[in-house]
Amino acid sequence: MKEVKFSLREMAFAALFGAGTAAGAYVVIPVAPVPITLQTLFLYVAAGLLGGRVAALSQVVYVLLGVIGLPVFAGGKAGLGILFGPTGGYLLGFILGAYAAGKLMPSNGVPGAVRTVLALAAGTVVIYVPGVLQLCVVAELSLVKALTVGVLPFLLGDGIKIAAATLVTIKLKPRMEQRLS
């Protein structure tokens, strides 16, 4: 198979948004019932601004950062063990979700708010599918229990983040095309 080629710009964007995703995991905004972090916010913004390929790559970088030991996974965890642990499915979900959300964005021009919200929401669903499946299998929970602990508490935070990321995408996309080469 032919090696996938990334341009230097794509590499730089993916690397920095990967680092941003990791740093975002440290910013906790207190909202009931579970505090939300800025981590997936970076995923949403990457998907909105950079397209599916680069957004997915940025999440690959984020996951690998955690794998080599930077404590950037939820709750300050790190390491390969987490990939195989109960919450590991979400990490795969981040990569797939970023790709899906980015693919659903229009490839050129300024995206509309409705389109952006729908694309990011669809991406969120893609994040949860492998996440919940692995939670079921590894933690040996039933599907209903896994949904109760693994999806439900985060939905409000996801909504807030999708709304914020949409505002950011609409604001920055024109500026990006105008001012960055």
């Binding site: 198979m1 090696e3 996938v4 080629k5 230097l8 710009r9 590499m11 730089a12 964007f13 690397a15 920095l16 948004f17 990967g18 680092a19 941003g20 990791a22 740093a23 975002g24 910013v27 905004i29 207190p30 909202v31 800025l38 601004l49 690959v60 970088v61 984020y62 690998l64 950062l65 794998v67 080599i68 030991g69 930077l70 404590p71 950037v72 709750g75 300050g76 965890k77 790190a78 390491g79 390969l80 063990g81 987490i82 990939l83 195989f84 642990g85 109960p86 919450t87 590894v138 933690a139 040996e140 602990v149 807030i160 983040k161 709304a163 914020a164 505002l167 950011v168 920055l172 990006m176």
Partner: protein, 264 residues
């Protein structure tokens, strides 16, 4: 700083000197072995982990520190199994209108024990390996994926760049929060709409500075001729006797596990 950059703990030990590739492979293998292991296999893995942790000459409380952030998750997982596993009820709890079963107690304990071992195994890797050596190991291990079209070196470089910029981001996030606070923006409390606007006001400058930084970085790398000519490393490794010995030990454990699996 060492905490942020992969929590490397400086010490002179056999484990520190192992080839990073061997350490990454061992961690993956051990994680897979621990996954779904029965109680005796868990104990065997725990003994092996304890032995290796002793060999690292890193004080045990350093490992315990890795535990602190995951304790709430452990507690939740334990309670879920304790309260929702069907089986023989334990007598003292019947009076409190909750059922705690013998099976639930055992399952909860085992799941948490397994997960704890995973945390130990992961911290073992990062405590004893320099981040730059991990990138080297990662690149070499990803190399076979080249057949599938994965640009292993580019991926390793991106991870290294992200590693370099991670602390920069943390500082920047802090600065922007302070800038917001100085302008009277309150994030705690307030309506939903206010929260969304607070997140946006934090994120627009942050995302923009990320995009600009990436743009500059790409230009700087291009100017320095990145991607032209063959790649080299400052430090390289070759497999020695102790690397093979470590792999052999792990294979023994895996073989034992497989044999038991066939009998069962």
């Amino acid at each position: 700083m060492s905490f942020l950059l992969g929590q490397y703990v400086e010490a002179d030990s056999v484990v520190h000197r192992l080839d990073p590739r061997v350490k990454i492979v061992s961690t993956v293998m051990l994680s897979l072995l621990i996954l779904g292991a029965s109680a005796p296999h868990c104990l065997a893995s725990a003994l092996l982990l304890g032995l290796v942790m002793h060999l690292t000459r890193i004080p045990f409380r350093a490992y315990l520190k890795a535990f602190r952030p995951v304790i709430p998750f452990f507690a939740l997982l334990f309670l879920l199994h304790l309260l929702f596993t069907p089986g023989t009820p334990l007598p003292p709890f019947g009076a409190w209108a909750i059922t705690v079963t013998k099976e639930g107690l055992f399952m909860g304990g085992l799941v948490v024990f397994r997960f704890g071992l995973l945390v130990f195994a992961a911290s073992l890797l990062t405590y004893t390996t320099l981040p730059s050596d991990l990138v080297f190991g990662l690149e070499r291990l990803l190399r076979p994926l080249k057949a599938l079209g994965v640009p292993s070196h580019d991926v390793a470089v991106m991870v290294f760049l992200a590693l370099r910029f991670f602390p920069v981001f943390l500082r920047e996030l802090d600065r922007m929060r302070e800038a917001q606070a100085a302008r009277g923006r309150v994030v705690r409390g307030g309506s939903l709409g206010l929260k969304i606007r607070a997140a946006r006001d934090l994120l627009v400058p942050l995302a923009w500075s990320t995009l600009r930084k990436a743009d500059t970085l790409a230009a700087a790398m291009e100017a320095r001729g990145y991607g032209n000519g063959p790649r080299t490393y400052m430090r390289t490794f070759s497999l020695s006797f102790r690397d093979y010995a470590a792999l052999f030990l792990l294979l023994l454990l895996a073989a034992w596990r497989l044999l038991c699996g066939i009998q069962a």
